[in-house]
C-alpha cells in the first residue's frame, strides 16, 4: 500500500485519478481502518488528506454560511458555538456518531462518503440544504449533499473526485433544525431510523421546510412530500398528522437485524413529528 500525503486537493485528485488499483481517501479513518482490518478493503493507494491546508478549519463565509474542512472531527464541531447556534441539528447528528474516541477523529465528509443510509450526520446536512465542494480532474464544483450517496457504501463521485469542503448555507432569521434517531440503547449504536427537519417561520407559520429520512431507503432521502405537509401550517395537530403520513409513505425500508420494515415505517413518522416540534421550538428561539 502506498501512503500519500498531498498538500492540495488538486494533487490529491491527480493521485486518485492516476491510481491503478483500489484507492481510499483518509480523513478521520474511523471507517477506512475498520474496513482494512476486516479485509473488506485492501487499498493499493491511501491518500491522507490531513496535510492539505485548512482541512481542519471551520470558517464563516461572507454570506453568513459556513465552510467546514473535510478533516474537522465531531469533537470540534460539537465545541463550536457559532455552528451549534446556527445549525444545532447538523451538529447533534454528527455528535451521535460513535464514542468519545470516534468523535475525536470522525468527520462529516467521511460519514457522507462512507455511503451508509444510516449515517447520522447526513440527514441533518441534507435538511439544512448543505452542499459540498467536489474537486476532480476537471476542477471543482458544488453539488447538494443529497446527490452524493448512490446506495449502501456507494457514492456518485467519479474517479479522481473527492469532497474538498462541506458548505452550510446562512442560517438566516427564524429558522431551526433538529435531528433524531432511534436506537435500542442510549449510545454507541447505528440508527434504526433517523430523521432531520429544518424549517423557517414567518411569525408562527412555517414558510420553508426540508425533511430528510435516514435508514429507511438505500440512501438518506429528502422527502418533499413531508416538507409540503408542514409548509403553510403552524405545526398544529393536522399538520403533524400529515407529516407523519408523508414520512411513512416516503419510507422504503428493508427488514434487517436492527428492525423490520413495518417498525421502521412507524418510527420514521414518530421521529418526523418529534424532530419537527424541536425544529419549530428552535426557530421560535425556545429550547436548545
Amino acid at each position: 500500500m502506498r501512503y500519500h500525503k498531498p498538500t492540495s486537493f488538486t494533487d490529491a485528485s491527480a493521485i486518485a485519478a492516476a491510481a491503478p488499483g483500489t484507492l481510499r481517501f483518509l480523513a478521520g479513518g474511523t471507517d477506512v481502518l475498520v474496513q482494512m482490518r476486516a479485509g473488506m478493503v485492501q487499498p493499493d493507494d491511501l491518500i491522507d488528506l490531513k496535510h492539505i491546508p485548512d482541512v481542519g478549519e471551520i470558517r464563516q463565509t461572507a454570506d453568513g454560511g459556513w465552510r467546514i474542512g473535510i478533516a474537522v472531527p465531531g469533537v470540534v464541531l460539537g465545541a463550536h458555538e457559532g455552528l451549534k447556534r446556527d445549525w444545532p441539528g447538523v451538529v447533534e447528528g454528527m455528535n451521535l456518531v460513535g464514542s468519545t474516541q470516534v468523535q475525536g477523529r470522525a468527520t462529516l465528509a467521511g460519514n457522507l462518503c462512507n455511503g451508509s443510509p444510516a449515517a447520522d450526520s447526513v440527514p441533518g446536512m441534507i435538511a439544512a440544504g448543505a452542499r459540498v465542494e467536489v474537486t476532480g480532474p476537471k476542477g471543482s464544483r458544488e453539488i447538494a449533499v443529497e446527490q452524493i450517496p448512490a446506495g449502501p457504501g456507494k457514492t456518485n463521485l467519479t474517479k479522481g473526485e473527492l469532497i474538498s469542503a462541506i458548505l452550510l448555507p446562512p442560517r438566516g432569521k427564524n429558522g431551526g433544525d433538529a435531528y433524531l434517531r432511534f436506537i435500542p440503547r442510549t449510545e454507541m449504536d447505528i440508527a434504526v431510523v433517523g430523521c432531520a427537519v429544518n424549517l423557517r417561520l414567518d411569525v408562527d407559520k412555517i414558510i420553508e421546510a426540508r425533511v430528510a429520512l435516514g435508514a429507511v431507503a438505500p440512501t438518506v432521502i429528502l422527502s418533499e412530500a413531508a416538507a409540503r405537509a408542514i409548509i403553510g401550517t403552524t405545526l398544529d395537530a393536522s399538520a403533524l398528522q400529515a407529516l407523519t403520513s408523508a414520512a411513512e409513505a416516503g419510507a422504503k425500508p428493508i427488514s434487517d437485524k436492527r428492525g423490520t420494515a413495518e417498525f421502521r415505517t412507524e418510527v420514521v413518522g414518530v421521529l418526523a413529528r418529534r424532530a419537527a416540534k424541536i425544529a419549530y421550538d428552535r426557530a421560535k428561539g425556545q429550547g436548545k
Binding site: 474511523t30 481502518l33 475498520v34 482490518r37 464514542s99 468519545t100 474516541q101 475525536g104 477523529r105 449510545e187
Partner: protein
Amino acid sequence: MTKIHVTTTVNGDPAEFLADPRETLLDALRDQLGLTGTKEGCGTGDCGACSVIVDGVLVCSCLMLAAEAEGKTVETIEGMAGEELHPLQRQFIEHAALQCGFCTPGILVAAKALLERNPDPTDTEIRYWLAGNLCRCTGYDKIIRAVQDAAAEMRGAA
C-alpha cells in the same frame, strides 16, 4: 514495501520508528516502542482498550495509522503516573474498579481526558464519556465512583 520514518513525541519523550504503511498507531506503540500498557481489544474502535490522547484529543489508537502520528504528541497509560500514582489510578485501586484489568488502561486514559476538560462531571456525563470503553467484569458502577472520587480529590488538590 517501503517503510515510513515516523518522528513523534510519546509521553514527553521524542520517539522514532519505521512503520509499515498499514501499521496502526496501536501496533507501533506496542511492538516498536514496547509500550504494552495500551491494549488491543477489538481492533475496530468499539471497545476503547487502546485509548490514547493525541494532541490533546482522546482517540482509539487502533483507528489511526502510525504514519499519522508524525509530528504529533501522544500520551499513553505509561505516562500517567509520576513519582506517585495518578489520583485516578489510586482511586481505581481503592474502589476495586477493575477485575481482569484489560480495559483499565484505556479507561484511565479516557477518564483523564474527561477530567482535563470537565473537573466536576456528573454520573451521566461520565457514563456517556466512557460509553466507548467496554468493561466486561465490573458492571461499571465502581468505575464511575472511582472517577467521581478522583475528580473530587483533584479539585481539592488544585
